[in-house]
Subunit: 178 residues, 2 copies
């Protein structure tokens, strides 16, 4: 993955071939595709882990929690897995993705998948489908916003702080909307 981010940053996404990426990592094209289902996926691996974290956090939350509290717990748990030493890589990743439509497409899709996962988990906790889906979307949106801010500056507050902030902001924005 580091090889890919570097090459994409140097030459652009299209110009870098899978073979080059694999070679820089000391492997071959075939092995690359054994680990990543396609060229873009190398930047987005680990999705199943995120899904599981969200799932478990929601399943394990206190019975009295409201939907938004469940969501807050979930993205809190997810944020906690991003240690400070991943910040720089995250920033480079963000830059590369921002430059290429195909990568943004995958990024958006991954976000949607996370939202679906949360929606399901919320429904298992008895939250009605429409509420669950909206709450999940808000959560993913908050996380994404916070993640961006986190990656942007190398010495700002930790991700968990930003995530909670973002969710609070969203909550108050919503209030002005209705």
């Amino acid at each position: 993955m580091r090889a890919a981010v570097d090459l994409f940053a140097e030459q652009g996404y299209e110009a870098a071939t899978v073979q080059e990426i694999a070679e820089r990592a000391g492997l071959t094209k075939t092995t690359f595709f054994r680990h990543f289902s396609d060229k873009r996926e190398v930047l987005f691996a680990g999705q199943e882990t995120h899904r599981r974290i969200l799932d478990e956090a929601i399943a394990g939350a206190p019975a009295t929690a409201t939907p938004l509290e469940l969501v807050a717990t979930a993205i809190d748990a997810l944020s906690a897995t991003f240690a400070e030493d991943r910040r720089e890589l995250a920033a480079r990743l963000r830059t590369v993705i921002a430059r290429h439509n195909e990568l943004q497409e995958r990024a958006v899709f991954k976000r949607t998948s996370l939202a679906s996962a949360m929606t399901e988990a919320l429904q298992l906790r008895g939250v009605p489908a429409s509420t669950a889906s909206l709450a999940a979307d808000l959560g993913v949106r908050a996380f994404h916003q916070a993640f961006d801010r986190w990656a942007e500056s190398s010495d700002g507050p930790p991700l968990t702080t930003l995530t909670r902030q973002a969710l609070d902001e969203l909550r108050s924005t919503i209030a002005t909307l209705v």
Copy 2:
């Protein structure tokens, strides 16, 4: 596009080659790619038109409109462009997309693009960025939900009715969330 939908429905998305699609339409592969930037795009063309409709509706709404009213106007205008005779094709399209991840990915991306377009248009009307983005998302979500219902049954209410319903439902769901 009809050739593509048919072939995808018959053989699945991966199994149908671009050459086959083009041939069924009485053309060649090269010509296909002159009209659609890639294989998936054949199912999603017309996006720029939708974008323009949303833009114009928002720009042309009365000065007193609230953000959600602006959004309602926009998706109303968009819905009005879907005549009843497109219902059946829409339904087949939906089925094909539902069966293939790659197509869902593109679909999600297109939805996000529409949301961005609306967000920009709302900001031009003075709506603050965070509010605009949330409102736009709600609009796209309402439209998508309505579109699904519309395509599902061949003799239900027209799309515009469903769109307005969906947006109303969303609004009340939000209220329960805060």
